[in-house]
């Protein structure tokens, strides 16, 4: 017997299923009609799909359906691995994500080495990084930030979900050296602070990726 389903929920479900890319609420509304309560339907769908093989997730401002993370072992595709990022690209991506917006010079200051030409290009080509205007300092350098696609790809609901972000902040590890130095005045290099042990922040990641 067929159950009567909420037409708004059905419409939003069908639209998101058919879409080739994640959609914002406004984009969904353009398809299902102005009169449909899209956020309400998304809420119902999110709840309905919870724990199923397919989930409805929100990444940044966009929504999409994806397979449940715990089924990765069934579906994992090794061929995607062929395009592995270089170490320089991974570090640069992390620096942009945790410090954004950030200029090239600031990235280079953290890495202690110049960025080779291809590194930022690769990240932009992947759609994870974009230029985000210029810093209003002499020379007006371009600054870079991550994209919505970055959040989608790495399964982050927002930048606040970056692994270990709060620990890094609390430990001052996202502050520039000069600023950190001011805070540590009087402490010698050998002295250890009373900061959390490194191991603690690693535990959290295991939880998040579940």
């Amino acid at each position: 017997m067929m159950i009567e389903h909420d037409p708004a929920v059905r419409a939003v479900e069908a639209t998101l299923f058919a879409s080739e890319a994640p959609m914002t609420i406004e984009q969904i509304r353009a398809y299902v009609g102005e009169e449909v309560d899209v956020p309400g339907a998304l809420g119902k769908l999110e709840e309905h799909y919870q724990g199923r093989g397919v989930e409805l997730v929100k990444r940044g401002k966009t929504w999409h359906f994806q397979t449940a993370a715990d089924l990765a072992h069934l579906l994992r595709r090794e061929r995607e691995e062929s395009r592995k990022l270089s170490r320089a690209a991974v570090e640069t991506l992390a620096i942009i994500a945790y410090h954004e917006p950030v200029s090239r010079a600031e990235i280079e200051a953290i890495r202690g080495v110049q960025i080779s030409k291809g590194t930022l290009d690769v990240l932009m080509e992947a759609g994870w990084v974009r230029p985000a205007g210029r810093r209003e300092v002499p020379g007006r350098p371009l600054i870079y930030a991550t994209t919505g696609e970055f959040l989608t790809h790495f399964g982050l609901a927002s930048r606040r979900d970056l692994p270990g972000l709060s620990d890094l902040k609390a430990a001052g590890l996202l502050d520039p050296v000069d600023l950190a130095l001011e805070g540590l005045q009087g402490l010698s290099a050998v002295e250890s602070g009373d900061m959390p042990e490194e191991g603690e922040s690693e535990l959290e990641i295991g939880e998040e990726s579940a």
């Binding site: 994992r76 592995k84 992390a94 050296v177 295991g206 998040e208």
Partner: protein, 265 residues
Amino acid sequence: MGLDEDLEFEAGESAPPEVADDSERLTIDIDGWEGPLDLLLTLARTQKVDLRQISILQLVEQYLGFIENARALKLELAADYLVMAAWLAYLKSALLLPKDPEIDPSPEELALRLQLRLERLNAMRESGARLMARDRIGRDIFTRGAPEGLRVVRTTAWDCNFFELISAYGQIQARNAPVMHVVKRRAVMTLEEALDRVSAMLGHALDWTQLEAFLPPDAEPALRRSALASSFLAMLELAKQGRVELQQEANFGPLMVKSRAGAKA
């Protein structure tokens, strides 16, 4: 390349691997480093303590030893590795010497700076590895494999009004109409007319008179230009016949005409 591979952050690992404490491999691998800071961080990790507790002196020794080894093996070292070596040698001596309050920044501050930089680089390296190890779309998690796709169908409302329609037709007709060339009559004064006119007027010009005075006074510009040219020719003809004298003070100056006294018999 063994060490380099160790440093490659494999997907699935939540933290960078510990570097093997194998000094022989350290001396051989030179290409895999991403600059002196990267090398320093790797060396620091061999101390197997929290970065906040590393011995900077020991690290300096490790680095200088590495550079020495590389030189002994005649490996090519990029300039910034050597600059770092020189700076670290200075830092080492400053740390070992009795404290000199005059020196600013103090060697301790320099050491602390170095340690902070290593911590920051390390934090980003670990964060990058954690990012890469997340469940990623297309590798661990999949979006719909065969989405129907959403389409925007654009329909065009063509715009054309009645005037555009009929004026277009008018232009086609005009374009196709047989073309007839008619040369318009232009107002001219012939040389004969000018000769008659100037000859008739000459009797009144006993004094030097400007050529323009002989032109019809109320002529249109086109006729006036023609009259000027033909009157000039008429004057030359009359001068040739000895009936007038011509005079011009300068190039392009006014052309003066005078009836020749007694010429008219």
